[in-house]
Structure formats: C-alpha cells, structure tokens
C-alpha cells in the first residue's frame, strides 16, 4: 500500500500529497457548492440576469410593442450596464458571499467541521482546498450564467437570427464574451477571497458583509486614492465596455487591464494567505460544547 507521508527531512515540501489533498477537498466542496440546498442561493442569483435578458428578448420576439425600435437589440452598452450593476455588483457579490462564507462557517452550522479538522491535512492546505473548491463551483455557476446572458443578448433585434450569426462571426461579441467571462471569474476569485476571510472571523458574517458591500457600492464616489482599495475597481477596469457612473462619480485614472489584473491577483493572494494563516487556530466549536 502507498504510504502517505509528508516531507520527511530532506524530501522538501510534499507537493504531490498536498495536490491530492486539495483534489480531495475540491471534490467534496464542488458537490456542496453545486448540489446542496445552500447551492440554490447561488443558482438563483446566477439565473436572475439570464431571466431578465430572456424576458427582454421575449418582449421583442413575441411582438410586444413596448420598446422603441432602437432599443430592441441589446447593445454593448446596455449589456455592460446590466452586467456591471446586476451581475457583478449584486449576483456575483452575494453569490460569492453565500458560497465562500459557508466554506468554513457552513461546516460549523452543519456540525461537520471536525471531520475536516481530524483529517491528516495541514490547516493551510485545508483552507486553500476549500477556497479552490468554492472558486471552481462559483466559476461554473456564474461563468456559465455570464455566458448564458451573452448568448441571450444575441436575440432581440429584427432578423435576430441572421444578425446573431453576423455578430458572432464579425463583431466584437466573441472577444467581449471572453472578457466578461474572465471578469466574472476574477470577481469570483476576488470576492471569494474576501468572504473566505470573513467566514473565518468569529463574528456574525452579516456585519462585515454589509461593510464590504457598502464599500464596493460607494467606490466610484470615493477619493481617487481610495478607489483602488476594492475588488470592483479592478473588475470595472477589466470590463470591455465602460459604463457611465453618473455625474457625481469621482473619476480617477482607471488602471490599465494588466495592472488591474495584477492588483486583483495580488489582493486575492494576500487574502487567501491571510485565511490560511487564520486557519491555523481553527477549532471545532459548535456552540453548546
């Protein structure tokens, strides 16, 4: 039988073992994120913008004359507005809140955290595995939803079938779609890291979640120096189509795409590292103990 050993002196770090452990944790987490009762929250939030887009297309396809001629097709700007306000700031944000806060806290509520803590796994690896599992699940749910909204966007205009084919083949649709899916995945990674840390705090997660939500919401109105200290700031810079933030928004110089991506990656890595450090002191306390 294969011995499961972790880095005896001179062997260096047991990357193979850690990779297998992360794989084992990801499998369990994916099942929870995609198939458990709690997963309904994520699925519900992901479906919301898709349903909105489908409703708009149906209005046109079924011939309800409620939209002006020029508004029938879902243009790049209209999509960007829906994406940034509904998908990014609400659906992905709250979906990640539900998924990542519950990676650890959910185990406490379910009184199953001790099974993980008893496994021969470093706490850091355990939390990293949970993060990767949550990220994989969130990416599937919200990346899929983003793709679905982009596909639905193709409908709506007159002769929408032909237009759609032309749009996919010639226009910027394909590039924008890849960019939007990428931004969604980046949002899952960034917000996921934030809420992973929140879930490890010994406080009611609602309070820090509200604080983060408020901070993200007022980001465009903050002084330019403070704006980079948020996830959404980098995400908006990565979006392919900018959206007007209104007359009272303070417009700082937005970072370039690569800089925004690097900023977000660094913040995410720092937060995940912080969570891994927090996990060292993790205990199985279920309230009445």
């Amino acid at each position: 039988m294969t011995a499961v050993t972790a880095g005896a002196a001179g062997e260096g770090r047991p990357w193979g073992l850690w990779r297998r452990q992360v794989g084992g944790i990801v499998r369990l987490e994916l099942r929870k994120v995609l198939l458990s009762r709690m997963a309904l929250i994520g699925w519900g939030l992901a479906v919301l913008p898709v349903l909105l887009m489908v409703a708009r297309v149906l209005v046109v396809v079924l011939g309800f004359d409620v939209l002006a001629e020029g508004e029938r097709a879902i243009g790049d700007t209209a999509y960007a507005e829906v994406y940034q306000t509904l998908m990014l700031r609400l659906c992905v944000f709250f979906g990640c809140l539900a998924i990542f806060v519950n990676l650890v806290r959910g185990e406490v509520y379910a009184r199953t955290l001790h099974y993980y803590l008893l496994a021969p796994v470093r706490r850091e690896v355990l939390v990293f595995g949970k993060y990767v599992g949550g990220l994989a699940g969130a990416a599937l749910v919200f990346g899929g939803a983003t793709l679905a909204t982009r596909l639905v966007m193709l409908g709506g205009g007159p002769g929408w079938g032909e237009t759609a084919v032309r749009t996919v083949m010639a226009g910027p649709w394909l590039g924008h779609t890849l960019a939007y899916v990428g931004v969604t995945l980046a949002a899952c990674a960034g917000y996921g890291a934030v809420f992973l840390v929140v879930g490890l705090l010994r406080v009611n997660p609602i309070i820090p979640a509200v604080v983060v939500f408020a901070w993200e919401a007022v980001n465009p109105f903050l002084p330019a120096a403070l704006q980079p200290m948020s996830v959404v700031h980098a995400l908006l810079a990565l979006c392919p189509v900018p959206v007007s933030l209104g007359p009272i928004a303070i417009l700082g110089q937005p970072p370039s795409g690569p800089v925004a991506a690097l900023e977000l990656a660094l913040v995410t890595a720092l937060l995940v590292a912080l969570a891994m450090r927090q996990a060292r002191g993790l205990e199985a306390l279920y309230g009445e103990d």
Partner: protein, 370 residues
C-alpha cells in the same frame, strides 16, 4: 526523560513502548488519587516544567498542565496525564470535561494553557497528528447527502490517499464495522447504531495508532457492543492507544486497563482500577460479600481480627458484608473458617472493587449522573 513522575520513570526504564505488544501494560500500575483540587494541581506541578514539553516521549499521550476555558467557563483545569498504550477510560459525570479532554488531544480544541503531545507529536501539528489519531466523536452529524461509502472514502481522499488505496481502505474499514450492505445508502437513513459504526469506520480507516472514542457503544445493540469491545481489545493488544469515554461503568470495568476519573474539569484520579481502589482503602475499607448458612457465627469469628472494621448481616439471614483493611489477611482467616468445616460458605464476592465503587467514593455518586 521529562519529569513525568515515578510511574512514567518506571515505564521508561522498562523500554520505549511502555509494555510489550499484546500485553496491555499498566494493568497493575500505580494509581494517583487527588483528594481535592489543590492536591491534583500539586501533583501536576510536581510532574515537570513547561520547558519539558519539547521532549515529550514518543510512546505516550502527554498532557502537561493543560487548561481549557470557554470564555469564563472552565472546561478542564491543570490536567497532567501520561497515557500508555492499552485502553484508557475517561469517567466522569456530564459536563465534567471528558469530551473537552478528547477534543484537546485530537487537536479539535487548543488548550488555553499548557501543552499536549501525542506520541511525541504536538497537537498543533494537524497533519502528523491526523495520521496518528482517529476520533469517533459524539457529534451525530454528517455531510449532507453523504452515503456511508462516500463519507469514509471522501475523508480518506481529503487525507491525500491515492484513489486505489482510498478505496481499499474504505472498503476494509466498512467491512470491519459490518456495514458493507448499507454502504451505498445515505447516512441520513441509518439507525443510530449504524451511524455510530460508520463514524467508527471513518476513525479507523487510515490505520491510526491512537483511537479516541467518545461514548462509542451508544446506540449499539448488545451483539454489536460485544463486537466493538472485542475490536477495541484487539487493537489495544496490538499496541494501539484506545481512549474511550463511557457512561456505562460496568463496561468500563471490563474494557479498560486504566481509568481517568474527571470531575468539574479536574482529574480526580488515574490508574488501574484495582490500584485506584487500593489507594482508597484507608477511607473506604474493602467490602466482601460472604454467602453462608451461619453469617452471625462468621461475623463473630472475623470480628476478632483488627483489620475487620464492619460486619453487616444480610436481611435474608444467608450472608454478610464484611469490611477489612487487610484483604490478604482477611482471605486467609476466611479460608480457615471454611476449612474448619462447621460453616457452609457458598460464595465470597468482592463488593466494591469495581470502577463504580471507585467512582462513588471519589465523586460521591454511584454513577447516576454520568
């Protein structure tokens, strides 16, 4: 060697394993009984200094001046223990600190102060500790939607076992607890006894040297209890450490090599049951039930001895309870009475040399509060 007291010193002189495999050690070891809390603490302080923690022995589970508080509520306080291979039973009423002690030694909780090492591994080292220890908790919760198989197999995969070996280990563990047929069913549909067994399967699946079991026989039918007890004995005979809590004192009596009595978060006594009982002789002389046809005559003859402090006739007139401070001398005297041939003695049975009596004398109840 760290300062673990005379018992540890003797064990260390005997060899690194503290007893040969197959022979539960310390069956006849000494016992430590703390008459009050301060005495227990004093015993703990005498055991060694915190600096010794770095040299915890690799053949013991060592608690060094361990306290754990939940806010301002005491879990356990100033616990000093050194557990050898074999079956150790934690005994105490509800809320006495048994589960806290188990959670501490398995790394589920961190001590507020003090240090714990399991076979030389500090409990803060989750990875190494997890390989050494299997813990069957009292918590009756399972991952949502898990089947018996996915529960055991999934945890092995989390531990990093390759797929083939995880499957083999899961199958072996499930077979050992006799749940092969139910393994594909959801745990939510299991009976209490089946859930208990699947938790045990998960606890033993990775082949730990230390098995910690919190009320492991709860919910099992008599046949399953006997099988589990036999499994624990077999593992102990192989040199494993079995730490078990149970509220069924007669089971503790038959199962455990040694007992740790906990009360209000303090260790009140530890050691072999017989030795623990012997250490209480001064306050509580041993009682022996003698069933015979002329109990009054037996009482008269025995009362001549200085070690006999009490003789009480049974209500049915067919026996008596005698309390003595010198058991060997008493048995010799009783033997002479039997050999004299004028009294028919049917049975001679110790009345209070079991864990229940020890518990009663130490804690003040007969175990009803367990």
């Amino acid at each position: 060697m760290i300062g673990l007291g005379r018992r540890q010193a003797a064990a260390d002189r005997d060899g690194p394993t503290g007893g040969s495999a197959g022979t539960p050690p310390e069956r006849n070891g000494s016992a430590r009984v703390s008459g009050d809390r301060s005495a227990g603490s004093a015993a703990g302080r005498a055991a060694g200094s915190p600096a010794d923690d770095l040299r915890a022995p690799a053949d013991r589970i060592v608690f060094r001046d361990v306290s754990r508080f939940y806010g301002e509520i005491l879990g356990v306080n100033r616990v000093n223990l050194s557990l050898a291979p074999g079956i150790t039973s934690l005994v105490g009423p509800n809320g006495s600190g048994k589960t806290t002690l188990m959670n501490l030694m398995t790394g589920l909780l961190r001590p507020t102060q003090g240090a714990i090492a399991v076979l030389g591994v500090p409990v803060t080292d989750a990875e190494r500790l997890g390989r050494l220890v299997g813990y069957c908790t009292q918590v009756d919760s399972f991952p949502a939607g898990a089947t018996g198989w996915s529960f055991v197999h999934g945890l092995l995969r989390v531990g990093g076992w390759p797929e083939d070996e995880a499957r083999a280990r899961a199958a072996a563990a499930i077979e050992r607890v006799d749940l092969v047929e139910a393994a594909g069913r959801k745990v939510d549909g299991y009976s209490k006894g089946m859930r208990q067994r699947i938790k045990l399967a998960a606890a033993i699946s990775h082949g730990p040297r230390v098995l910690v079991l919190d009320e492991p026989l709860n919910g099992l039918d008599p046949m399953a209890r006997a099988e589990m007890a036999a499994l624990f004995r077999a593992l102990a005979a192989d040199g494993h450490f079995i730490v078990v809590s149970s509220h069924i004192l007669h089971e503790v009596d038959t199962l455990a090599d040694r007992v740790v009595v906990i009360h209000h978060g303090y260790v009140r006594a530890e050691g072999g049951i017989a030795d623990m009982r012997a250490s209480l002789d001064a306050e509580h002389p041993l009682g022996i039930q003698v069933r015979c046809d002329r109990p009054a005559e037996v009482a008269r003859r025995l009362f001549g001895r200085v070690d006999v402090v009490e003789a009480r006739l049974h209500d049915d007139g067919a026996g008596l309870l005698v309390r003595t401070r010198d058991l060997d001398g008493f048995y010799a005297a009783l033997g002479e009475i039997v050999l004299a041939g004028d009294i028919d003695v049917d049975a001679i049975v110790p009345a209070d040399d079991d864990v229940q009596a020890v518990y009663q004398y130490l804690i003040g109840t007969g175990g009803e509060g367990l």
